[in-house]
Symmetry: D2
Subunit: 141 residues, 4 copies
């Protein structure tokens, strides 16, 4: 199953449809059912103490699976998150970007499931893991 | 087990320690192991189409359980989210605030578990549900 | 939305299609989008120490949501679990049956979501909570 | 961090402390923070239609993480599951054993987190994935 949208196509899609997110995220790599997304950590993503907030990590996991699905099915639009489980395992390193490594475990007719490991850049142990389910509306099958 | 911090005390805590969150959330009600928190929906919380974003709902669920725990154990600080499962079940109503009804199911020595139902104001069916686990560090037992 | 199958109809369905489960579970109450199911705890459900095993509690949560869905949509068959999150919060009481209180939070065209609290009989604090998503195949809509 | 218990030591532990499980599971491989466990599928594990039941897959994921933790910390006992999220993604192949590939993402002082992918033997796409959190009691630190 070939990739339908590469990093440049996904970026153009984000710029047009999600301009508020485009400045936060960098698509580093797109492969069949795999994508790597960087969060450029800014002050607004931080909690007191300098650590990246939980909602920011959730957002990174969510956008990574979304873009991973779009990469495979094309810019057809309205997949929605139906479920997420996320484990916060370590404190992110201060001052480091976060890197999300996402793998689609299932890309079915109506449901897609993606797994995400989130790392502080250049740190071996993941800070968080997440699994998200997206519902793919019938019109885009 | 009596409530240690009421809505005013929780608000003062938020203002001091999480000023960036204080303008988003209103603590509506505090009871033993229960809390109601309102998200004042603003433009920055929305996705294209006018619906509240997933990360915003995650943030609402997360802060509700955090405040529910602080209400019971006092302003001792550094409980951290270790796990969240969240189900997005319906599209939030456009232009309506979100109301989180949180209940602590467990408040143990090292782990607390809170359940949250999120509603669009004045709509009967919940838009999302979440369960969060917090780890309570030893020094605050 | 009226109940399509009452406790007797659900029991007859279990006896015919899931005979291996029928002896474990008692349907105590069926209401609109709500069901109560008892697990008659036997030696084979226990872990060393006399506590009910995790897989047994998972099975109780799973069957409760399944029966709660069937009660509403009728005996049309093949809904399948796609996701479960479960929190084990306390040790079940020794020698007590488990009671699952299940509520359907969503009963959509393709997905249903049920919430379950599991109690040791006559104990106020829940031993576990679970949320399950079922996928409802198109032919039974 | 070296492995404390190899496959033979884990098997001896299972035989002594969980004799009812010992006949179902085969420990195929133990490495640092990784373990592979086979479920020998028997008639009692099946649902109508010949597919392995959800509770059986939950049990396989649960025991895999448990044994993966014991392999690293030794036979000290009483780690308990506090949380599991599990996604059922495909129907298991009929008549095939299930293989669980488990990786410990965190092995902390009080919490351990393990990720599991479950495959039908000789099938490339996973049938399920799960993440489990175990609480490690203080006396075994």
């Amino acid at each position: 199953m070939p990739v339908q949208m590469d990093a440049a196509a996904l970026r153009a899609f984000l710029e047009r449809d999600f301009p508020q997110m485009e400045s936060d995220f960098v698509i580093e790599r797109v492969d069949e059912r795999e994508i790597t997304v960087r969060l450029k950590v800014e002050y607004r993503h931080l909690r007191p103490g300098g650590t990246v907030s939980g909602p920011t990590m959730f957002a990174l996991a969510d956008v990574s699976v979304y873009l991973g699905i779009l990469a495979m099915i094309g810019p057809k639009g309205l997949a929605v998150t139906t479920n997420c489980s996320i484990d916060f395992m370590r404190k992110p390193a201060a001052g480091a970007d976060l890197i999300a490594e996402c793998k689609l475990l299932k890309l079915g007719r109506v449901l897609a499931v993606g797994d995400v490991l989130i790392y502080s850049e250049d740190v071996a142990e993941p800070v968080a893991r997440a699994t998200l389910t997206y519902s793919i509306p019938p019109e885009i099958n």
